[in-house]
Structure formats: structure tokens, C-alpha cells
């Protein structure tokens, strides 16, 4: 079979093992994600979801195996990758407005001094509009609700015009309406050919809105369409005694924070 040239959003992971100083985080993962995929990364806390994301942006080197994004090492592709951090990782009292933060998505192309061009401003305006933040551009980020805060970082990622987008638990602490509007934006990117990876605890959401899911817990347990991934057997393997089986239903006890502030 003739091997195709990798496209910019292709992810190829082969027998990759990741870890920090003596701790094994993910063992021997093999995974191929085609460009434009909308993939939910599901697993219990500490399963290695963040580790996988760190490796995908070149912040963590592999202990063995290989990992490429668009056929290149992640470090070389990092400027074409956008990342939406968990909300707790951001200092919300930082003196910056919504527009300042979204403009940070454009800084990769601006170097040290170049002023934002009309194109840059337009990309920022479009991103704000798309996430219904148009009226909040001059608002300090500390004066936003939880759902608005999460959308600011998705807007920054849009402004960056990436070929790969990673979102780390983006739906934690946002209400269903905000979550659905965010998923719609992600589906739009997916249709535009951007590869989107979302780590989430929400298996229900992963099963209903994502075309692909991967279940991990220190190793890859299952990868494929959600109907094939979220079987009782796989869930038991991923969540162990956290998973309880009741009359054909699976209940997973996850100690994750619920919505703290809704808007």
C-alpha cells in the first residue's frame, strides 16, 4: 500500500511510553488520529490525559516509541497547535482584558515588536463573535463568569488558527447551555479540517457528540467510535472499582468538581 504524506493535523503515536522522573504515566500507546478528527480523551483522574497533551505540544519527551504531529516532532509543530488550559490553571486576577487574551493567540506570528495587523484584529473580532463574547472585549478577565472565562480561551485558540486543538477538561464548571455552544464551535472546527482533542470526564457527552473516543488509564484501553469504546468491559478496565454495574447501566463514581459558577 502506498503510504500517504501526513497532513498537518495527523497525529501518529507508535508504541510510545511517557513518564516523569521514575513515574510511568502512559505505557506503550499506539494511536493514529486522522486530520479533522473530533476525539474525546476519556479516563479517570491521573490516567495520563494531561501527559498525552503535554507530549503532543512538545513539553514532555518520550521514554520510548515515537510521536509525530503532521509527520514532524511535536516541538516543531507546536505553533500550529492551540491549547485550552483548565480554568484553575489561570490567574484570573491577571491585569488583562478579554481582547488582550484572545490577541495572545496571534502573538506567535507577530514576533517581538510587530503591531497586530488588520488581519490579526479581524481574526480576534471573529473569534470573539463566534463565542458570543463580542460585547465583552474590553472587560477584565477577572470580571467574567465561569462559562465566559472558558469561552475566552476557546476564542484565543480560534484566533490562533491551529491545525490541532487540545482542550483540557473544558466543560468542568460550565453549565449545559455553554457546554453545548462550545461543542458546536468544536464541531465547526472539525468540519473545517482541524483535529480536535478534548479530555473529559463526561462519557455521556463523549458518546453523544464525538465521532471518536479513546479510553485510557496508564495505557490505551480502547480507541474507536464511542459505541465500540464505551462497553461495560472497557469501562471496568478503565475505572476499576469506581465503575458500578446496575441493571445493565454503568455508573462511574468520579470525584470531579461540579459546576461552581454558572452563567
Amino acid at each position: 500500500m502506498k503510504r500517504q504524506r501526513p497532513r498537518s493535523g495527523d497525529i501518529r503515536v507508535e508504541a510510545a511510553t511517557f513518564g516523569y522522573a521514575g513515574v510511568l504515566a502512559l505505557d506503550s500507546v499506539t494511536l493514529q488520529v486522522p486530520q479533522g478528527a473530533l476525539l474525546a480523551v476519556v479516563g479517570p483522574n491521573g490516567a495520563g490525559k494531561s501527559t498525552l497533551f503535554k507530549a503532543l505540544v512538545g513539553l514532555l519527551s518520550l521514554q520510548s516509541g515515537s510521536l509525530t504531529v503532521g509527520g514532524r516532532p511535536p516541538m516543531e509543530r507546536r505553533t500550529a497547535t492551540a491549547y485550552v488550559p483548565q480554568r484553575e490553571e489561570i490567574d484570573w486576577l491577571f491585569p488583562a482584558t478579554v481582547r488582550d487574551v484572545v490577541m495572545m493567540g496571534r502573538y506567535g506570528g507577530l514576533g517581538l515588536f510587530r503591531r497586530p495587523s488588520t488581519d490579526d484584529r479581524q481574526a480576534v473580532d471573529e473569534a470573539l463573535e463566534r463565542l458570543a463574547l463580542g460585547d465583552l472585549g474590553d472587560r477584565p478577565i477577572g470580571e467574567l463568569s465561569g462559562g465566559q472565562q472558558q469561552r475566552v480561551f476557546l476564542a484565543r485558540a480560534l484566533a490562533q488558527e491551529p491545525s490541532l486543538l487540545l482542550l483540557d477538561e473544558p466543560f468542568t464548571g460550565v453549565d449545559a447551555a455553554v457546554r453545548d455552544s462550545m461543542v458546536e464551535v468544536l464541531e465547526g472546527l472539525h468540519e473545517a479540517g482541524v483535529t480536535v482533542l478534548v479530555s473529559t470526564h463526561d462519557m455521556e457527552l463523549a458518546a453523544s457528540r464525538f465521532e471518536l473516543a479513546v479510553l485510557i488509564n496508564h495505557k490505551l484501553i480502547a480507541y474507536g467510535p464511542p459505541t465500540e469504546v464505551f462497553t461495560a468491559e472497557h469501562i471496568a478496565a478503565a475505572f476499576g472499582h469506581q465503575a458500578v454495574f446496575l441493571n445493565g447501566m454503568v455508573v462511574v463514581d468520579q470525584c470531579c468538581p461540579g459546576p461552581t459558577h454558572v452563567h
Binding site: 512538545g58 513539553l59 491577571f94 491585569p95 517581538l112 484565543r156
Partner: protein, 290 residues
């Protein structure tokens, strides 16, 4: 009235003191914004104490005390960056180890000097009224260097401080920026030695920037306001020192502290008074900080 303002600066030592104070006030406040936003206050204080051995060695060798301080501060800054790199040990642990070790070495060296003069006391508490021509030029040069570096790397400093992962991905090199900031911090502390000394440097780094943090909502304005507060504190402190005949470094720091307290109580949006009278805002803030 006008005479009261101009009289002090008729003498050349007071003119030198004013220039040195202004340089220190501006550079400390501007870099201090990053110190405050990155929670590096402990580090600044530690670095200030850690330069003591450099000063002591310079004194023993008969070399420039400022040069000795500069070498020591940069070595300690790079040491902290090295030991806490890749998270082998936490940064505050690395600081705790190096800062106390350097301080101990400084005390040990000083204890061997039987007749150490007032110079070492001045390093500890500052002596802006005794700034020589040579020291003034060195102070101005280093201050200009720090300010220029902050301006050139402003965008990278902003990105690295706000979200290091994103900074990494847009090519801002947050790890390198951290080391650069440590070195700038070391230089700034040395520049400040003459006006406020080792003991009070941290106040100049943190207080005007913290006041500006309360008053502004965007980083460029925070830096401008902080610089203005640094200038006001330095000049007002010098006048107090001249007319009340009190230690100038302490006077500068207390003026800065006074400005902070007034702002803390009265500032719009973030001040205590504002929050009390606008309960809705306060509730919102508590909700967000959870």
C-alpha cells in the same frame, strides 16, 4: 514654598541622590510588576540577602562592592534557575537552600573582617546620600539596561507570565524568559542597594507594583502607574529624609507603603471601601476565587 522644594537639590550629593533614587524607583517598580504577577516576592528578598558573600569578598579584595554584589546576585539567580529546572525540587525549596547558604557564607566572611567600615552597613541599609559619581553612572547604566530588556522582551514576558504552556506553543520560550527575569531581578537588586539596601529591596520591588495592580486592569498601564508611584515614593522619601533628618531608604519605603495602604482602602473595584459599598461585586469576587 518653591525654595523648600528646590533647596535640597542645591548640593551636588543631593542631585546624585535624586538621580539614583529616580532610576531605582522606576526600574524596581516596572520589573516589580512581573515579580508581583509571578509571585516572586520571596525570591526577590532571598536574592537580596544572598549577595552578601559577594559584597564581603569584594570588600576583602578591595574591589568594588557593587561589582561583587552583581556577580553574587547573578550566580545565585542562575543557581536557583538550575536547581529548580524540570521540577526536580520546588523553586521555593531551591531558594530556601541557596539563600540561606549564601547568607551564611556572607556572615562567615564578614566575621573575619575585624575593622569593617560603614561600607558594609550601607550595603545592608542603603546610603543614597553617599552615592559617588562612579556609582551613579553604574546605577544609571544598569537601570537603563534592565528597562530596555523589559521593553524588548515585553511580549514574551507577558505570555510567559500569564500562561506558560501557551507561551511555549507560540514560541515565547517561557523557560528562557524565567532565567532572563531572574538575572534582571539580580541586577535590579544590586542597583537598589545604594538607595534602600539589602533589607528593604523587596519593598521597592513589590509595593509600588502591588499598588498599581489595585488601580489598573491591563498590564501596560500597571507598569506605567507602578513607575509613577516609584518616582513619587523616591522623591517624597528624599524630601522627608532631608527635612526630618531620617534614613532615606526607610523614608522611601514608608512613602510607598503609605500609598499602598491608601489605595488598598480606597481604590475603585479592588479596594476595601469599594467592595463594602458594592456588595454585589464583592460576592462575585469570592465566587470567582473558589
Amino acid at each position: 514654598m518653591l525654595h523648600a522644594l528646590t533647596d535640597p537639590f542645591a548640593q551636588s550629593f543631593m542631585q546624585r541622590a535624586l538621580l539614583a533614587s529616580l532610576a531605582v524607583g522606576v526600574v524596581c517598580s516596572v520589573l516589580g510588576c512581573f515579580v508581583v504577577l509571578r509571585s516572586m516576592a520571596f525570591l526577590g528578598d532571598a536574592l537580596a540577602h544572598a549577595i552578601l558573600p559577594g559584597v564581603a569578598i569584594a570588600y576583602l579584595l578591595g574591589a568594588s562592592l557593587l561589582a561583587g554584589a552583581l556577580v553574587a546576585a547573578i550566580l545565585v539567580a542562575l543557581g536557583i534557575a538550575f536547581f529548580s529546572r524540570q521540577g526536580t525540587i520546588r523553586e521555593d525549596t531551591a531558594i530556601g537552600i541557596l539563600f540561606t547558604a549564601a547568607l551564611a557564607l556572607g556572615v562567615l566572611l564578614i566575621s573575619t573582617i575585624r575593622t569593617y567600615s560603614s561600607d558594609l552597613t550601607h550595603i545592608l541599609f542603603g546610603n543614597v546620600l553617599g552615592v559617588s559619581h562612579g556609582d551613579l553612572w553604574l546605577t544609571l547604566g544598569l537601570a537603563a539596561f534592565v528597562l530596555a530588556t523589559v521593553l524588548v522582551l515585553y511580549r514574551r514576558f507577558l505570555l510567559s507570565t500569564f500562561d506558560p504552556v501557551h507561551a511555549h506553543m507560540v514560541g515565547a520560550r517561557p523557560e528562557t524568559m524565567r532565567v532572563v527575569m531572574l538575572v534582571l531581578l539580580a541586577i535590579t537588586i544590586v542597583v537598589s542597594l545604594q538607595t534602600v539596601g539589602v533589607g528593604l529591596v523587596a519593598a521597592l520591588l513589590v509595593t509600588p507594583a502591588a499598588t498599581a495592580f489595585l488601580l489598573t486592569r491591563r498590564l501596560p498601564y500597571m507598569m506605567l502607574v507602578a513607575a509613577g508611584l516609584g518616582v513619587i515614593s523616591s522623591v517624597a522619601g528624599l524630601y522627608l529624609s532631608y527635612y526630618l533628618n531620617v534614613a532615606s531608604g526607610a523614608a522611601v519605603v514608608l512613602v510607598a507603603t503609605g500609598l499602598f495602604l491608601v489605595t488598598f482602602i480606597l481604590s475603585p473595584r479592588r479596594g476595601i471601601a469599594w467592595r463594602r459599598w458594592r456588595p454585589g461585586m464583592a460576592k462575585n469576587r469570592v465566587g470567582r476565587s473558589l
